[in-house]
């Protein structure tokens, strides 16, 4: 982390060799002063982030409930527990150093490193879950819509048309390639043919899924004296958009947490067929993904920095002379823990 100088606690009388005497204002080593000041700046950094979250959230007309956005309280609690454990292990590491048990200190430090890694692992799993449900911000816009209104309907229709075109062009491409390959007789061509068959199967399945939406109509029109057939997506009445939105991304049942599932919860088209990437309606969902990913993301970056610092310190011999270094590391790590102590209820339980 920072180069912590040897603790100088010289009073005006004490004479040191090869250095000036100073009159320190605070009775602690410089490294620790610097670290506490740095932590003050970090307090302000997270105050800005968490403060923005609080006002954005409680000023929002609607905020998604935890299960609507697949937030798992038990995982959050587990992570809290993991971080608290890692906090106490780094405390014990420092105690061991001060008691001159370098090997024991190393073991505690290693435990802290591992617990921190577990935290990041769980966090990564949680992120993966969100991504699997298409819950993420993205440019030019995410798949999340605020209301099941006419704009949403337009977006859905556009997406369905897009898929339709993608699938049919993919199909024709595959068929063309298949025809070309049929004339060749090499093993590679046979291999490729197999892949194409699989792709065609998948394509057919997807076309079927698309047909199963049941609001696709066949339109036959005459253009330039030629009969053209094409699929047109019927306009769903806006009154039926909530039902459609439910199918894309069903909100969680109201009584959560209990294990008496009366009916099996429908997973949603976007999860059953992730390639659909249909726009979904989660009121307040956009601000939720924005704040959730930025807050947990910056916290995770801080965790990562701490882990790197641990990994750098671990190979050193943890003698009493390094107590200051480990103390500073510990202070930083506790701060990371502190931030999570507030993030956990604010993000997971509120």
């Amino acid at each position: 982390m920072n180069a912590s100088p040897p603790a100088e606690t010289s009073t005006a009388e004490a004479h040191h060799h090869g250095g000036f005497q100073y009159q320190p204002g605070l009775p602690i080593p410089r490294g620790k002063v610097c670290l506490w000041l740095f932590l003050s700046t970090e307090i302000m950094f997270f105050a800005a982030l968490i403060g923005s979250y609080i006002v954005l959230r409680f000023g929002a007309p609607v905020w998604p409930r935890q299960h609507d956005v697949h937030l798992s309280e038990p995982l959050g609690a587990l992570n809290t527990f993991v971080l608290i454990c890692s906090s106490v292990t780094i405390v014990f590491a420092l105690e061991s150093i001060r008691g001159s048990y370098p090997r024991r200190a190393k073991a505690w430090l290693l435990a802290t490193l591992l617990l921190g890694t577990v935290f990041l692992g769980v966090k990564g799993y949680e992120y993966k879950e969100k991504f699997a449900h298409h819950l993420y911000p993205s440019q030019p816009r995410s798949l999340i819509y605020e209301r099941p209104d006419v704009y949403y309907r337009t977006a859905v229709k556009q997406r369905l048309l897009e898929i339709d075109q993608e699938l049919s062009s993919e199909e024709s491409e595959l068929l063309r390639e298949k025809k070309e390959l049929a004339e060749e007789d090499s093993p590679q061509a046979l291999d490729r043919l197999g892949t194409i068959e699989l792709a065609l199967d998948r394509n057919a399945h997807r076309q079927q899924v698309l047909k199963d939406f049941h609001f696709k109509t066949k339109l036959i029109e005459e253009r330039d004296g030629e009969v053209v057939e094409r699929w047109v997506w019927a306009d769903l009445p806006v009154s039926q958009m909530p039902a459609f939105a439910y199918n894309v991304m069903p909100p969680a049942p109201v009584h959560h947490g209990s294990d008496d599932h009366e009916e099996e919860h429908f997973a949603g088209w976007n999860v059953l067929e992730p390639w659909l990437e249909l726009p979904m309606v989660i009121p307040g969902g956009n601000m939720w993904v924005s704040t959730y990913f930025l807050l947990t993301g910056f916290h995770a970056i801080h965790v990562l920095v701490g882990l790197i610092a641990f990994a750098l310190v671990l190979p050193l011999r943890l003698t009493v002379a390094r107590a200051g270094l480990v103390e500073n590391l510990g202070l930083y790590w506790h701060f990371v823990d502190l931030v999570w102590i507030f993030l956990f209820p604010l993000l997971y339980l509120f």
Binding site: F20, Y22, S40, A48, S52, L56, Q139, V289, T291, L294
Partner: protein, 599 residues
């Protein structure tokens, strides 16, 4: 000339450096040096270079305002050959955006904290170096990515064109304007790097001032320059992270599609701006939460420097030393609760507006304490009108004008009329150029002998001062008149509106004055560079000053002092009655029968 009376133990000069500083290779000594003096001078040269760039941008702005759409010399034919050298309105927005950005983030903040702070803090408190020399070096080198990002941003399509305040949604939505594209992302990255640099610097300064004062140097024996630097460092440490956080939010709005500052249903150029649900005002709050304290970051060290210079050349102790410190503290503390006065016309909650109005008006109180204390210091003094002193007096008078026009802005009903006019431009140029830049010039003339071991030419210094002073007022005082007439800022061609057409001649006068001010810097530049090599040698204490930096050799070697500094008295013991000398430096041991000692 020099007063070389030392006390304490002489220490070998070379034994206190880390392994880096003693390395004789050029890179280690002059480029990646960890010595605070080298870093300070690196900051000084970089920021002076950027001062030149920022000045050029200002000249271009003035050209356009005086002769709208006329062929701009050099720039016009080079960048706009197809329009006959006539710049585009988009280019004008780049000009004023980058002028503000460069002057605030690359000149004033780093020249005060980076150049003077780095150079003076250890020297004035009796430390051999900063508490964390490597961190200090990093704080300089983190400026370079910012230099590069800001420079590069000017060359990408449109350039950053959302003003130095970067208000969303213009800055958050990439397709909002030609200047909202990739250049804006680069601009935000540059801002982040400046933030990192300042953060590293400020924790270092605070630690150094708290922990590395020489024996006897209590907090209330610190020169006011150090107090200014100390409080500035606190401001930076507490306010800057908020801007960094806000900058990251805006970056993520632009890059990954979050919606912190983008309201619902925003369509820009016929395209949906994406997510939504956010609030553009949030950016303004977070931005000004930093950038109002930043105004004091740009002022408080200057105030401290001016106090030191005034006491020295009035040969009088500073009037009300402790009230000065408490006034600095008061300004800083109030500075945190007034940020909303930049947002009176943003549509903010009127209740909040009233609160901010009251707290803003309260700032007049500590500012007045400082002003009257400076006047009290000058009153009855034996004033030596040297160049640094002239600049300090210039600072004082310009600060009074700028401060008084600030009260206009603080009052909501008045502000609603003059906000976004040239009145506000006049106000902050009086504070930032007439105030801070004058103090910076004064500081350069004052500490130049310490930095380079030679004196600057006083005559050409005075020429520089008088020309700058006259042309400065010619440029900026007229802006008050324009502003009261409603002349809007940030428009490439306000004369397009008939009501402003008659203001063109006044603008031409201002532009001529601005060019004069720019040219008036030539004597300074020549004086500066020639004096480094040709100036008369300065002793340790050419000004007969009392503060500790003057006890070191000029320029100080590695480790700063050739003796152990011990402090016996306060920083401003000039003309103390009953003493044979008119100044008693802080490091001189009292006679066995010492007269009454002040703290």
């Amino acid at each position: 000339m020099s007063s070389t009376v030392h006390s304490g133990h002489a220490l070998p000069a070379d034994s206190r450096r880390g392994l880096f500083g003693r390395a004789i290779d050029f890179l280690g000594t002059y480029v990646f040096s960890v010595d605070h003096k080298v870093i300070g001078i690196q900051f000084l040269f970089s920021t002076l270079l950027w001062f030149f760039v920022g000045g050029l941008l200002a000249m271009a702005i003035r050209w356009q305002l005086a002769w709208p759409w006329a062929e701009m010399p050099l720039v016009g034919p080079l960048l706009f050959p197809h329009t006959g050298g006539q710049i585009s309105p988009e280019f004008y927005t780049v000009l004023f955006t980058m002028h503000g950005t460069v002057m605030v983030f690359l000149v004033i903040i780093p020249i005060l904290a980076g150049a003077f702070g780095n150079y003076l803090i250890p020297l004035m408190i009796g430390a051999e170096d900063m508490a964390f020399p490597t961190l200090n070096m990093l704080s300089y080198w983190f400026m370079w990515p910012a230099f590069i990002a800001f420079t590069a941003s000017m060359f990408f399509a449109g350039g950053p064109a959302t003003g130095w305040t970067s208000y969303p949604p213009l800055s958050s939505v990439s397709n909002a304007a030609p200047g909202s594209g990739f250049a804006q992302t680069l601009w935000l990255l540059g801002l982040t790097f400046v933030g990192i640099s300042s953060m590293l610097g400020s924790v270092n300064y605070m630690t150094t001032i708290l922990q590395m004062r020489a024996p006897g140097m209590t907090m209330f024996r610190l020169p006011l320059t150090i107090w200014g630097m100390f409080i500035t460092a606190i401001l930076q440490a507490f306010a800057l992270p908020v801007l960094t956080a806000a900058g990251f939010m805006q970056l993520s709005d632009r890059l990954i599609g979050t919606g912190f500052f983008i309201p619902e249903g925003l369509t820009v150029n016929g395209v949906s701006a994406g997510a939504g649900g956010g609030q553009p005002l949030l950016w303004q709050h977070l931005f000004w939460f930093y950038s109002h304290p930043a105004v004091y970051i740009m002022l408080l060290p200057a105030m401290g420097m001016v106090s030191d210079i005034m006491a020295c050349f009035a040969r009088k102790p500073i009037f009300g030393y402790k009230p000065m410190i408490f006034a600095i503290g008061g300004i800083a503390a109030l500075g945190f609760i007034v940020w909303g006065h930049h947002m009176f016309v943003s549509g903010m909650n009127p209740m909040l507006g009233t609160t901010f109005m009251l707290s803003t008006i309260m700032i007049a109180l500590p500012s007045a304490i400082k002003t009257f204390n400076w006047l009290g210091t000058l009153w009855g003094g034996r004033i030596h009108f040297t160049t640094p002193m002239l600049y300090s007096i210039g600072f004082l008078s310009m600060f009074i004008i700028g401060g008084l026009s600030g009260i206009f802005m603080a009052v909501t009903p008045v502000d609603r009329y003059i906000h976004d006019t040239y009145f506000i431009v006049a106000h902050f140029h009086y504070i930032l150029f007439g105030g801070t830049a004058f103090a910076v010039f004064g500081g350069i003339y004052y500490w130049f002998p310490k930095m380079f071991g030679r004196m600057m030419n006083d005559f050409w210094g005075k020429v520089h001062f008088f020309l700058t002073f006259v042309f400065f007022n010619g440029t900026f005082f007229t802006m008050h008149i324009l502003g009261a007439g409603g002349f809007p800022r940030r428009l490439a061609d306000p004369y397009h509106y008939e009501i402003f057409a008659h203001m063109l001649p006044l603008n031409q006068l201002m532009t001529i004055c601005a060019f004069g001010m720019f040219l008036a810097q030539i004597p300074f530049v020549l004086n500066f560079f020639l004096s480094i090599f040709l100036g008369p040698r300065a002793g340790r204490n050419p000004w007969h000053a009392t503060t500790l930096e003057w006890s070191a050799p000029s320029p100080p070697g590695h480790g700063n002092y050739d003796f152990q500094p011990i402090i016996y008295r306060g920083p401003y013991e000039y003309s103390v009655p009953g003493r044979e000398q008119d100044f008693y430096p802080q490091w001189i041991a009292p006679k066995p029968v010492a007269p009454k000692e002040s703290t």
